[in-house]
Symmetry: C2
Subunit: 188 residues, 2 copies
């Protein structure tokens, strides 16, 4: 059996993964991640979650991800995992933390589930910025898995700066809108 | 940017993903997962970790995975994640837990890291059997991330049966052999 599993983006998102685009500050970067989550809901291409990876020093966009669990029929393909896999593939490196590479940071429209939190640890990003709390996802029926306060401490002890709650209300609105539209809740 | 990330197996493993093969008991299934880990080390195709997913009732093999972090330059591609992604892709389903599907179980040559433990929760397998303890991986420099006793409890509370320590010594020997050969320790 040879399985060619193509980790692609939905059509609408392809032109947005523009590696010449630079973002100026945390707010602009998070608005982009939340915009991805909103467009994913509006296009019906997946759950209400978006993520993007940026060069920290320049704000240049490296990769993006949107929840693609149902679209690509893979429980692994949360927004953060898609962004990480695409970033590493574009650089040809299993880690984004290498002396000859710039420093990278990941912005996510929602706090990561247990899988993504572990995945972020291995990815090599040196900063994680989240918007909506995990409680927003849980409130509409998504399970976030075994994430504990110590889980974030583990990331920080590994040298990853963690910022939570940036533009949380804007991201929460997208998640609540997904529920109101009757969006499917997988892994409930 | 369109990235075709092909989640394939190393050449030596392709013929082993034989979906006509049925296994009789836990020991035979785990020997297969450990054999995958050993062959991965001997072939130089990745870290000392193997995993396989079986139909619980019949013992039929559904998919397998070997650690492919360096081979495919992706920190996501631990053995368990590869097995999960290939299983779901072959069934065209983001979950292996569906009323019209048989019940599936995942065998791993080592206890899962934080990412894989979360990934197993979302995968839809209803049973997890592990061989070597996480301490075996940590002893040679691999980080396992934020996994706590409660993490396993979370899986069990979600209806996933967990068995740890089956053929632990055999699996540990492969991990120690990888160290003795000077195998690369990524994400250290």
């Amino acid at each position: 059996m040879t399985l060619a599993l193509c980790i692609d983006l939905p059509d609408w998102a392809r032109s947005m993964e523009d590696s010449t685009r630079c973002f100026t500050d945390d707010t602009e970067k998070m608005r982009f991640a939340i915009d991805l989550s909103r467009r994913n809901v509006e296009a019906g291409s997946g759950g209400p979650f978006g993520a993007a990876i940026f060069e920290r020093a320049t704000g240049r966009l490296l990769s993006l991800g949107v929840n693609s669990v149902i679209r690509l029929q893979s429980s692994v393909l949360h927004a953060e995992m898609l962004a990480i896999m695409r970033a590493q593939h574009s650089l040809g490196s299993y880690t984004l933390h290498r002396p000859d590479l710039p420093v990278y940071e990941l912005f996510s429209s929602c706090e990561p589930c247990a899988m993504c939190l572990g995945g972020i640890l291995w990815s090599g990003v040196r900063r994680l910025v989240c918007a909506a709390p995990a409680a927003s996802a849980r409130a509409i029926g998504f399970d976030e898995g075994p994430v504990y306060p110590e889980s974030y401490g583990y990331l920080e002890n590994s040298g990853i700066e963690v910022v939570r709650g940036l533009l949380a209300d804007e991201a929460h609105t997208v998640i609540a809108d997904y529920r109101d539209r009757g969006g499917p809740i997988y892994n409930a």
